[in-house]
Amino acid sequence: MRAGVMLAAAALIAVGVAHPAVAETIYVTNEKDNTITVVDGATLEVTKTIPVGQRPRGITISKDNTRLFICASDDDTIQVFDIAKQEIVGTLPSGPDPEQFILSPAGNPLYIANEDDNMVTVVDVDSGEKVTEIPVGVEPEGMGISPDGKILVNTSETTNMAHFIDTESHEIVDNVLVDSRPRFAEFTADGKQLWVTSEIGGTVSVIDTATRKIIKKIGFEVQGLNAEAIQPVGVRVTRDGKLAFVAMGPANRVAVIDAQALEVKDYLLVGQRVWQMTFNADESRLYTTNGNSNDISVIDVANLEVIKSIAVGNQPWGVAVAP
């Protein structure tokens, strides 16, 4: 009996030391290769590479987890990828040069930033019809949506603003000036804050969504690293509002922020030119795309450590996780 308990204990300890296996699949868009790389979440190995449209960038999963939407920027279209069939099954209109997009929390519509046209295009994913176009600032990219789906935020990179758009009237109701070249906008899960990164400004602006005022601008400093290399792009906040992660571009690091104190806690070294990141379903992992080292990094969120880097295609851009 005792030996059995010891064995069981040993087995438990062994499992505790190893990183827990997760059953999920990671999809990465490779901007240069015109493909997506499929990575198995359990083994953290590449299982296949699938050709998609030209210059694939933004990628997001449907609310029912059956489809992936992929921005094929040079094809001026959104591709619909069926996860069960593992193939492209159709397209959605997107307006010209779609880069980033966001799905309403309800699962429909899809809001797309048209980089070249200073527009946000709204598309009904069920009917496949364009609903409307909303004029915004110069070079729209970042897209965020409030948890109740009522406010859409788009950032214009050259106008340096976060535009607050009412999703019913499709009118801009407010504009917040941020630091140079804002590329990403993310609401916290409670809808109270909006986090906007400024790539050239080198900061993250935390905006109170009720007052629409910046409550804090977070700066970054890494020993031995040129300030110019710190170029924040993607940002993700945990659902419990405790931690935020910021991809810092050519700084090759992800900043870990105490999202309550709004202070930087740590920097995690990943691959080169890290731009985008996505949590898995239970937020135990954060996957990052490292555009210049052609790999993705896997961050163990509980332990705040990078556990693996996986080689994918050329110039990985976006990442989505399917359960």
Binding site: E139, N175, E228
Partner: protein
């Protein structure tokens, strides 16, 4: 959308003051503050482009300023600021200083000057120009950043020293340290050559030999094409000794292009032709530049040039200041642009700022071949205490500029 205008190079007849075009195709908010910006240039008669592959650019620089206004007004829709461009396009040989005085008389404080060095100094020294902000978007002369600097001038176009340093850093990274320098006989050729010699010393390259090539730009299109050149160039480049790369300074574009593939020894050609250091190139697509290129070609009907880019940066700098300070007066805008908070995004991967010792905009230098970007300087490994961009051009300790206002 504005219909693109492609002006023929030969067109000379223009009114002294081209009517100010409506600033933007967009509607300014009713309660918007107007911020007037002026643009001045002399429409000199240009030779036909060297190659059929090149584009004619009769409105060089001007289109960059106009697109800058347009982009400013997109932001301005939200900040309630409306920018206008007052264009003084002086005909060849016309009175530039007179036209400039006319702009000042209208109350202009922000002037985009698309002029060569002599005329730039002439307008900067006009006494009434003391409290104005003049952006140099054309002249690359090193003297303008040195002994001939002016307190009321900021430079968005890089100077020869910056470009030469950008090129030299790449050559040293490649370990092409032995240079054969070929210089044309024009004034500008000599200025760039001086910058190249300085760069060689700075980055420890060796000029193994220097030769002058005497060729005034002649008729560009001739039917016999290459027959004579094929014999001339090898002979001219014969017997140089051991060198890695031919560095040519032919700013007038008279002969430099002929050197490539015809040198006696098989060597790359760099400098004003071949691998060229530039502020901007049509192939630049990094750091979101594709969007800039798309916007510009749609707007102007041609590729964006260095002068367009410099003019665009000047106009955008003013908008950066008025947007961030929410003030539009000369004193506030001028102070902010020269201050520590200022930075303008120029699609070069980092924010661009003005050097306080000589008013030069720090910026990466593009190194371009015919169809692609080869590299961008500063090269990795060239370090600097304050900003790696200051490894290009005149750094603070070596400046000969003593910023002073024009004589009263």
């Amino acid at each position: 959308m504005r219909k693109p205008q492609i002006r023929r190079v030969g067109l000379l007849v223009m009114t002294l003051f081209a009517t100010a075009l409506p600033a933007a195709a967009q509607n300014a908010p009713a309660d918007a503050v107007t911020i007037p910006i002026a643009y001045i240039t002399e429409r000199v008669k240009e030779l036909p482009p060297f190659s059929l592959v090149d584009q004619p650019t009769g409105d060089n620089g001007l289109m960059g300023a106009r697109l800058g206004i347009d982009d400013n007004n997109t932001t301005g829709k939200f900040t309630k600021q409306n920018f206008t461009l007052d264009e003084a396009v002086v005909p060849d040989g016309g009175d530039v200083v007179g036209a400039f005085r006319g702009l000042l008389a209208k109350g202009h404080k922000f002037i985009v000057a698309d002029l060569p060095a002599a005329q730039l100094l002439a307008i900067a020294d006009v006494p009434e120009a003391k409290d104005t902000l003049i952006f140099n978007v054309q002249a690359k002369d090193d003297a303008l950043r040195g002994e001939q600097c002016r307190a009321n001038v900021l430079h968005t176009m890089p100077n020869y020293a910056m470009l030469a340093d950008g090129l030299a850093q790449y050559l040293m990274w490649k370990r092409w340290a032995n240079w054969f320098l070929v210089v044309g006989t024009g004034e500008e050729d000599k200025k760039f050559a001086a910058a190249l010699r300085r760069a060689a010393e700075r980055f420890s390259a060796t000029i193994v030999e220097e030769r002058e090539f005497d060729a005034a730009p002649g008729a560009r299109r001739t039917d016999t094409g290459y027959a004579q050149i094929q014999k001339q160039m090898p002979t001219f480049t014969q017997g140089v000794g051991d060198y890695d790369v031919l560095v040519v300074s032919d700013e007038r574009d008279a002969f430099g292009e002929y050197l490539q593939y015809r040198t006696w020894d098989a060597r790359p050609v760099v400098g004003t032709q071949g691998l060229v250091p530039l502020a901007w190139h049509r192939s630049q697509e990094q750091w979101g530049a594709t969007q800039m290129q798309n916007r510009f070609t749609k707007f102007a009907g041609r590729w964006m040039t260095e002068r367009d880019y410099a003019a665009w940066l000047a106009v955008r700098s003013i908008s950066e200041a008025t947007t961030r300070t929410n003030k539009t007066d000369y004193a506030s805008v001028n102070a902010y642009i020269r201050g520590p908070e200022f930075g303008v995004a120029g699609f070069k991967g980092q924010k661009l700022t003005f050097r306080d010792w000589d008013g030069q905009l720090r910026q990466p230098v593009l190194l371009a071949g015919a169809r692609t970007l080869v590299s961008v300087s500063p090269q990795e490994g060239f370090l600097h205490q304050f900003s790696e961009l200051d490894t290009l051009g005149f750094d603070r300790p070596e400046t000969t500029c003593k910023l002073r206002a024009p004589a009263q």
